[in-house]
Amino acid sequence: MAPTPYLELKDICKDFSGVRALETANLSVAPGEIRCLVGENGSGKSTLIKIVAGVVHHDRGEIRIDGHSFSRLHPIDAIREGIQVIFQDFSLFPNLTVAENMAMNTLLAERRRLVTRRRIRDIAGEALSRLGVELDPEALVEDLPVASKQLVAIGRALLQNARLIIMDEPTAALTRPEVRRLLEIIRALKERNIATLFVSHKLDEVMDVSEQITVLRNGRVVADEPRAAFDAARLVFCMTGRRIAQARRSAVPERTDTPLLSLRHLSRKGSFRDVSFDLWPGEILGVTGLLGSGRTELALALFGMEPATEGEIRIEGREVSIRSIHDALRNGLGYVPEDRLTEGLFLSKSLADNAAAGTARDLAGRLGLLPPRAVLRFGEDWIRRLRIAAPSASVPVRNLSGGNQQRVVLARWIALSPKVLVLNGPTVGVDIGSKSEIHAILEDLAAKGMGILIMSDDIPEVLHNCNRILLMKRGRIVEEFDGAATDENELARKLAG
C-alpha cells in the first residue's frame, strides 16, 4: 500500500480576479516519490506549485504537509517543512554571485544570522559538484546565459534537509547533457528519500524519469496514474484532449539561383569563427549545439547586436554590412530572442502594444499619428491570425501563458515580413499543442518564401522542422545534416560527442 503522503492537496481552488486557475485540484506526493505534473500552458501547474510554495494563497481546499494542515501557507513555512522550489522564472538574484545565490536557501534554512564568505563558498562548491557542472562561483548571475541561470536555480534547491523538491520546467533552457545529469540527480535524491515534483513540457523527460504522472487540464486533474499506464500518445491526449501527430517537414523548397542569406567566414573574437552557410528562400535551417557553442552569439551577430568582426554577409547576393539592429532591420533580418520575459516582452503592456512594437511606424498614418484604436485592431487581427488564446488585445501579456506569449512575439516579427527570421529557442517552455501550432506557423511562413533559421537544442524540434541542420561546436560549424535523413539518436550522439 502507498505510504502516507508527504504532501497532500485536496480540492484546491484558486481564482485570479475572476479567472479560475484551479478547480478542485488534488495532488499527493509520497516521500521519495518522483512525480511529474504535466498539462498545457495555462492549465494551472505553476499556480499549484506557487500555492505549495506559499507564494500564492489558495481560495479553498486543504494543504497537508507532513501531517500538518495549513490554511494559509507562507513561503517560510513551506521552506521549514522541507519544500524547495525551482520556479519557472528561476527567481534568482541577478545582482549576486553564483555562489551567493546557491548558498541562499541553505543559509536561510539554517536560520543563520551571520554569514561568512567561506561558508558561502563551501555550500556553493558542494552544490556545483553535485550538479557536476563548471560555473565560476564568483560570476554575477546577471551576466550568465539562461542555461547557466537555470543550473544555479537547480543547485540552489538541492538542500541537504529538503524533503520535497519542486521543479517547474527546470530543463527549459538546458541542453541534453545537463538534462541527463539533472535526471540522474533526481534519481539520486530518491535514494535519499527526497521526493521530486517535476514539471516539463518535454514529454521524453517525463516518460524517462517519472514514477507517477498527474495531468492537469483547465485547472482540474484529468489523470493521476503510474508511469506505466501512459505512453506518449496517451499522455498528449490527456493533456490536450486531441491527438497530435509529429509530422516531419515535408516541403523541401526548390533552390533558386541566389540564396536568401549567405555567410562566408563570419567570425567574432571569442564567440564564433569561420561560419559559412547558405539559407535559401522557403528553407528552414536549424542550428544546434551545446551550451556555449556560439549559437546565440551567431544569432546576435546576424541581428547586429554584437556585430561580427570578420567575414561577409550577403542578402540575396548583395553584400551587406550589419553593424547595428537598424542595419539588420533594413536588410530584412528579424530576430526572436532567447529570453522571452526580459528580451522579448513588455510584460506590463497590452498584447496589442507588444505585437505592434516593431510596426508602430508603419501603422501610423500621416504626421506619425497612431490612434490607440489602430493598435488594438492590429492586435486583434493577430489574435485571429495566430490563434492566440487571449480574452482581448488589451490584456497585459503578463497574463498570457508561455505559448501565447511566444505567439505575440512571433506576431511582432511576422508583421514586419522580414526576408530572414532568426528564432532563438522558438518554443522554449511552450506546451506540446502550442508547439506544433507554432511550428505550423513557421512552416507556413517558409512556404511563402521566408528563410527561417532556428537556433535550438531541442533535437526533435530541429529534426522535425528543418530541411537541414548545422551542428556548432566551440564556435565553429562542424557538420551539416539533412533533416530527412537523420534520426534523433544519431544527432544526439553527434551533439554530445
Binding site: 507564494v55 527567481s91 538574484f93 545582482n95 549576486l96 536561510l108 551571520l114
Partner: protein, 338 residues
C-alpha cells in the same frame, strides 16, 4: 581565467579611486596647499555628515529603493531634540542626546517603512511625500527659529578633537572626534551588509523582491529595518551637523539629498538596486567633498564655480563608466541605459 589586474578594472571602487586620484593630482598641482594635513582634516570633517547620510542612502539604494526624506528626518529629529533638551535644561553627556535624536529618527523612518511595507508603494513616492510632510510639520508646528545657544554637551562635542596641531603660522588644526561616528557607522554598515543574513536580504530584495520573498525572506521585516536604520542614521547625522555648526537651523540640510544620492551613485551603487558597497560609497563621498572644497584652492572665479561643480560631477560620473568601457568587450555597455 581573468587576471587579477583585469578583475581590478571591473571593480567600481577601483575606478572611482582612480578618478579621485586624478582629481587630487590635478588640484594638488594647481595649489600645493591641497596636500597639507590641515586640508586632509578639513576634508574629513566635511565628509562626516554627508558620509553618514550616504551610508543610509546606500542601504536603501541597495535594497532597490530611493529615499529622499532622510534630510527632512535629520532636521526634524535634531530640531526636536535640541528644543526638548533646552526645555529640560539638560546638562548630561552627548551620548544621550545622540540616542534621543536617533530614536526620533527611528520613529520617522518607521513611518516611511509603514507606508512602503503596508501599502507596497514605490519608495520614491512615499519618501517624497514624507519629506514634504516632515519638513512642513517641523516648520509649521514645531518652530522655524535658528537656535544658536545649544546644550553644553553639544558644544563640547564640537570641540572634541582626536588630533591637534599648529601650523608654522600658528593656525590650529584638528581632527574632530565626529569622524569616529562616521567610521563607526561605516564599519557597522559594512559588516551588516556583508556578514549578516539581514544584509544579504537587503541585496536580495534589491536584486529581485519577488524572489527574495519566495526564498523565505520576510520583506516587511527587512523594509522596516532598512527605513528604520536610515532614520537612525539621519538622526545621528542631523545631531552631529547641528553640534558641529553649533546652531540648530530648521532650514538646513533639506535640499542636499540629491548631492548625497549623487555621492552614493558615484561610488558605484546602481540606482536600480542590488549593487553598491560601503567602501565605494565612502569613495563617492570623498569625490564629492573634494570637488566642493577645492574650488577656491583651484582659483575658480566665483561666477564660474557652479559651472565647475557641474562639469566635475559629470566628469566624475563619466570617468568610471568610460574607463570600464575601454576594458570591456566591445558590445557591452552599448547605448544601454542602466
Amino acid at each position: 581565467m581573468p587576471s587579477r589586474w583585469n578583475m581590478l578594472w571591473k571593480k567600481n571602487e577601483f575606478l572611482v579611486g582612480l578618478t579621485i586620484l586624478g582629481l587630487c593630482l590635478f588640484v594638488g598641482s594647481v595649489n600645493s596647499a591641497f596636500w597639507s594635513l590641515p586640508n586632509l582634516f578639513d576634508l574629513l570633517r566635511s565628509s562626516v555628515v554627508l558620509g553618514i547620510f550616504a551610508l543610509g542612502a546606500l542601504v536603501v539604494i541597495v535594497s532597490g529603493g530611493i529615499d529622499v526624506s532622510f534630510t527632512a528626518v535629520a532636521v526634524l529629529s535634531m530640531y526636536i531634540t535640541t528644543k526638548l533638551l533646552l526645555a529640560w535644561g539638560y546638562a548630561g553627556p552627548f551620548l544621550w542626546i545622540c540616542l534621543l535624536s536617533c530614536s526620533i529618527g527611528l520613529c520617522l523612518g518607521l513611518v516611511n517603512a509603514l507606508f512602503i511595507s503596508a501599502f507596497r508603494l514605490p519608495t520614491l513616492i512615499v519618501t517624497l511625500g514624507t519629506m514634504s510632510a516632515f519638513r512642513g510639520f517641523l516648520l509649521a508646528f514645531i518652530g522655524s527659529n535658528h537656535i544658536s545657544v545649544l546644550p553644553q554637551a553639544m558644544v563640547a562635542f564640537s570641540q572634541w578633537d582626536l588630533l591637534r596641531g599648529r601650523t608654522p603660522d600658528g593656525v590650529l588644526y584638528s581632527l574632530p572626534g565626529a569622524v569616529l561616528f562616521l567610521f563607526g557607522a561605516a564599519l557597522f554598515t559594512w559588516a551588516l551588509l556583508r556578514y549578516s543574513m539581514l544584509g544579504r536580504g537587503i541585496y536580495a530584495l534589491g536584486g529581485d523582491a519577488v524572489a527574495a520573498e519566495r526564498v523565505g525572506f520576510s520583506l516587511s521585516r527587512i523594509q522596516f529595518f532598512i527605513y528604520g536604520y536610515v532614520g537612525v542614521l539621519a538622526g545621528l547625522g542631523g545631531i552631529i551637523h547641528t553640534s558641529l555648526s553649533r546652531m540648530a537651523n530648521p532650514f538646513d540640510l533639506v535640499g542636499t539629498e540629491m548631492n548625497v544620492l549623487a555621492a552614493v551613485v558615484l561610488g558605484g551603487a546602481r540606482i536600480t538596486g542590488g549593487h553598491g558597497s560601503v567602501p565605494g560609497t565612502l569613495l563617492g563621498v570623498g569625490l564629492v567633498v573634494i570637488m566642493n572644497n577645492s574650488l577656491i584652492l583651484l582659483g575658480v572665479p566665483s561666477y564660474w564655480q557652479r559651472v565647475a561643480v557641474g562639469l566635475l560631477l559629470l566628469a566624475g560620473t563619466a570617468a568610471p563608466i568610460l574607463l570600464a568601457r575601454t576594458r570591456k568587450r566591445p558590445h557591452a555597455g552599448e547605448e544601454e541605459r542602466s
